[in-house]
């Protein structure tokens, strides 16, 4: 390939590219020292440079379309302006609004966001965190943390600002933003109880993640408080937050001798699986069984029937996480903080009075 031929000096020949102007170019154009340019361009230092000099510098910057090399500055200052976001599964429909909230707030503060998909193998998490640290990220947002996750200790040892989203670490050593899982489940259970259901099932999320145990606890407490008999409070645990696991768990619930008349899922994906299971058993929702989801992920209002679910403020969760992280970067010694967002019940058509 002729385009790829090497030149005598051993480098790949390529079309001449005007390399980006540097601070030196700006300086020589203005007849000042590069450090003066640097000062003029730094909000914290610009008060040190004469107004007319600063003006000339700004003009040269504009003329040359100079943009500071963030990487070089970062090497010097030790700050990269990069934040790493670790997601358990980018394809999860709950992720985009959270990410959007994160990048919105972070972008506003001049930070860029590196997104990493951990994938199903959670053990890679630590390695990925290390890789991010090697890139010099100034902070981390983790959407992946399990209860008693070793990555927590790892981050603390690395002394890097971290905030957890939609997850909590058992030791509560890191800042976190989450929805109020207890309230969410209470809303769901009270709605169902109000409709007349006296026998309610729950499909719990995995026990190693905080939402799994917190929502389960919230469900059980609310059901008891609503006066359900212990025998009429049934829980099946899903191995993961997936539609298929939801289906399997729902089948287990439906096949019990005295199946519940309503099921509360720990999240909407699980609820989707309940719909699958119902169809499989020839059961109708809400005529035979009421279903409540959790999260209000996009388009569940389009399902058949439209899903009654607990809406959580995902974008806001992202915003708050970014805010917390920014605070921690600004003052690493500040207290860890937890932000708890209020969920809201969205009643649609998947819930109704029980038959009997």
């Amino acid at each position: 390939m002729v385009h790829n031929s090497k030149t005598g000096n051993g480098r790949v020949a390529r079309p001449y590219v005007p390399s980006r102007p540097t601070i030196k170019d700006v300086a020589s154009r203005c007849g000042v020292h590069p450090s003066t340019v640097s000062r003029a361009l730094s909000p914290a230092m610009s008060h040190l440079v004469a107004a007319n000099v600063a003006k000339r510098i700004r003009a040269a910057v504009a003329a040359l379309r100079y943009q500071p090399n963030v990487t070089a500055a970062g090497l010097r200052t030790g700050r990269s302006g990069l934040i790493g976001v670790l997601a358990p599964d980018i394809s999860d429909p709950g992720f985009p609004p959270i990410l959007s909230g994160i990048t919105e707030t972070l972008g506003g503060a001049g930070y860029a966001t590196i997104v990493v998909d951990v994938g199903p193998d959670r053990s890679r998490q630590r390695q990925l965190v290390d890789r991010l640290i090697a890139r010099g990220v100034d902070g981390l947002v983790l959407l992946t943390v399990a209860l008693n996750d070793p990555v927590v200790g790892h981050c603390i040892a690395a002394a890097i600002p971290v905030v957890l989203v939609n997850r909590t670490d058992a030791a509560r050593k890191l800042s976190a933003v989450a929805t109020d899982d207890e309230v969410g489940m209470r809303l769901a259970v009270e709605h169902l109880a109000g409709l007349g259901h006296v026998s309610i099932g729950h499909i719990a999320g995995p026990p190693h993640v905080s939402t799994g145990v917190l929502r389960r606890a919230g469900f059980e407490a609310s059901a008891a408080r609503a006066g359900l008999k212990p025998n009429n409070i049934m829980v099946e645990t899903a191995g993961a937050y997936t539609r298929e696991e939801g289906r399997l768990a729902a089948l287990r619930l439906l096949d019990r001798k005295r199946a519940p008349t309503a099921i509360v899922a720990a999240n909407d994906l699980l609820a989707l699986g309940i719909y699958d299971a119902l169809r499989e058993r020839g059961l109708h929702c809400p005529a035979d069984i009421s279903v409540v989801g959790h999260n209000d992920m996009p388009y569940v209002d389009m399902l058949s029937p439209p899903l009654t679910t607990v809406r959580i403020a995902q974008r806001q969760m992202g915003n708050q996480a970014a805010r917390l992280l920014l605070d921690e970067i600004a003052d690493p010694a500040a207290h860890r903080e937890r932000v708890v967002l209020e969920p809201k019940l969205i009643v649609r058509a998947s819930t109704a009075r029980p038959k009997r």
Copy 2:
């Protein structure tokens, strides 16, 4: 706040943090020069260092848990190992699988991905590209490009490797990966014609994006080829790929004197809007009107009725985009390439024979 008190030297006091080891630490521990460590750790240069020395170095690296500072290396080599991804709307359900494909392939090659949400204001795009370039990204993946988008010329001027995803630039000056829009529409139209529909509407995407015009052209050509009379080929254009725009356009179609018996939407979000419009008019799908979507976004199989749609290989699109970009980075002088992926019709329950 006592934790935030300043010390005499004017710097914020913070707990002692063992700073990351550098190449110097490794070198001095091994009694060699830093450059030797660098060589030992570089796949391209390691053949230059003696086996036993290399071994000692590797041991020291492991003992110190040394990780090269990617930023510093980047400053020297001019490569950051960072790729920027510009998305029109992170919350679009079509985005996650594409992003996932991109990060998967890029991550495998040692690159990290910076995700930027352009948001509704497309004019920011250029500025965001500049910001990414200032960060030294080695390449760009653009999911946002409009036909005749000035950002294309901008990227070419900046001589930065770019690949377009699911979009095409009018001048075709950049590499791109897209689905075969013409085939997709043909699949949809032939399916409907085969069912007996002789009057078919299309809700086209915005005319400033390639999929908008390509799919529309594909629709019109296929409809004509299927023998539909010109009067029975109806098109309404949506101002954006949103559910609401889909609803509005569908209403316009339904309110025509001779409304079609089937509608093909340029994407699934638009199809969701058709469902809304149908409900509003008291019409049933597929009894009164058949609907075909495009993209097969997550969970449209759960809609009521489950949506017949054209499935496009989104994750693969992301993989291929990353591959193309990697190729272009490796050889910037190589030809621009276009990858066209084959779509597939997924027949579900939103299509049926027409009533009459």
